[in-house]
């Protein structure tokens, strides 16, 4: 073994400093760190009650079991490259969602750091206002990360790649239910609803390219443990807050009217 001389150490320090200065290849693809989410411009019909000022949360901050769900469709016989698939997916994201859920894309489109609002529904018909942040976006993939209060804590990665000469489109969710109530909801039909939603989304994407292939699903429970230390996440539950917001609508209307008079 050779000992390191002071000159070697200086060289090593210089190498490290140079590395810190150099911008990595993926730098432009990631969102910049911000303590809380900021929504720039709220589209007509969207409600920004559960996104602005919330923190983004990953799979480690959730309450429920950790799931990795992969949905994929082979775009057989479609002459389309992975880059073209992702470009189309980003530009028409909301159009591929099944009916009943609305995605209000950010004005700047699916670009890193942008926040989109969502209006959806939970099992039992509860209306839900929430959103997602674009965590990462390059030419062949993009990922959306959820805010506190969202039904799940984690991210969804949409990607496209070549496999045995065929272009494949894939959505992969890495998630935990955000709080005990959502965990219960997922077990009582929520998972089924979610699986159906992504199946339909991929079918719609494939149909856009003239393909009618079945969507393959691979559902893996990565960690069956519940994270009880995160049960307080229920405080931000977007379902409860959206329901209260809806119930209080007449009161808000009266208050606004009184202000105008």
């Amino acid at each position: 073994m050779t000992e390191q001389t002071p000159r070697d150490e200086t060289r090593e320090e210089e190498k490290q400093k140079e590395k810190q200065r150099r911008e990595p290849r993926d730098a432009a693809y990631w969102a910049r760190y911000a303590e809380t989410l900021k929504v720039t411009g709220v589209a007509e019909g969207a409600t920004n009650i559960n996104v602005e000022g919330r923190r983004a949360v990953g799979p480690l901050q959730g309450f429920g079991k950790l799931w990795q769900k992969t949905y994929r469709v082979s775009l057989k016989d479609a002459e389309v490259t992975p880059v073209e698939v992702i470009k189309t997916w980003k530009e028409n994201y909301k159009d591929f969602w099944p009916e009943g859920n609305l995605f209000y894309a950010p004005l700047a489109g699916i670009t890193p750091g942008e926040v989109a609002l969502i209006s959806g529904s939970l099992p039992g018909g509860v209306k839900l206002s929430t959103g997602v942040m674009v965590l990462y976006a390059d030419d062949e993939s993009f990922s959306l990360m959820t805010p506190e209060g969202h039904p799940f804590s984690g991210w969804i990665t949409f990607s496209s790649f070549e496999e045995e000469g065929t272009t494949v489109a894939q959505a992969q969710v890495l998630m935990r239910a955000n709080d005990p109530l959502y965990e219960m909801g997922l077990r009582m039909g929520g998972h089924k609803m979610e699986n159906e939603m992504w199946r339909k989304t991929l079918e719609n994407l494939a149909a856009h390219f003239g393909v009618n292939e079945p969507v393959e699903m691979n559902l893996v429970c990565v960690d069956p443990k519940l994270q009880w230390s995160h049960y307080r996440n229920i405080w931000h539950n977007a379902g409860i807050r959206s329901a209260i917001y809806t119930i209080a609508a007449p009161l808000r209307w009266r208050r606004n009217r009184a202000r105008q008079d």
Partner: protein, 119 residues
């Protein structure tokens, strides 16, 4: 799927820790290489796995997902996951994705090894 553009070298660091040197790209395609390296690293009495990111050249969100699943596996084995060599850019990604809540980040190998062996 394309081949993984990553190499991982495993070496011991004291009685209780192993270091995995990550060289190249951490993407979905690196899963097999990372899990093989982990199996090799966690042989025997190892209680801590240290990831050396000094030569990390590229990471996408699937790469971050791999670190989450590795962390779960390590926790299940009652081991600890530590890192060092992260550039300012990758430290910021650990912050955004909130991996820094669960993975200890150290400035140098010496510091990480000391922390791993004192735990």
């Amino acid at each position: 799927m394309p081949e993984a553009q990553v190499k991982m070298n495993v070496r011991g660091a004291g009685e209780k820790a192993s270091i995995i040197d990550v060289q190249g790209e951490l993407t979905a395609f690196a899963e097999g290489v990372l899990m093989d390296a982990y199996n090799q690293a966690s042989d025997g009495q190892v209680r801590a796995i240290i990831l050396n990111f000094e030569d990390l050249e590229y990471m996408n969100s699937s790469g971050i997902g791999l670190l989450v699943t590795l962390l779960i596996r390590i926790n299940r084995e009652k081991q600890q996951l530590l890192t060092y060599g992260l550039s300012a850019h990758y430290r910021s990604i650990f912050q955004i994705t909130r991996l820094d809540d669960a993975i200890a980040i150290h400035d140098s190998e010496e510091e990480a090894v000391r922390a791993a062996n004192s735990a």
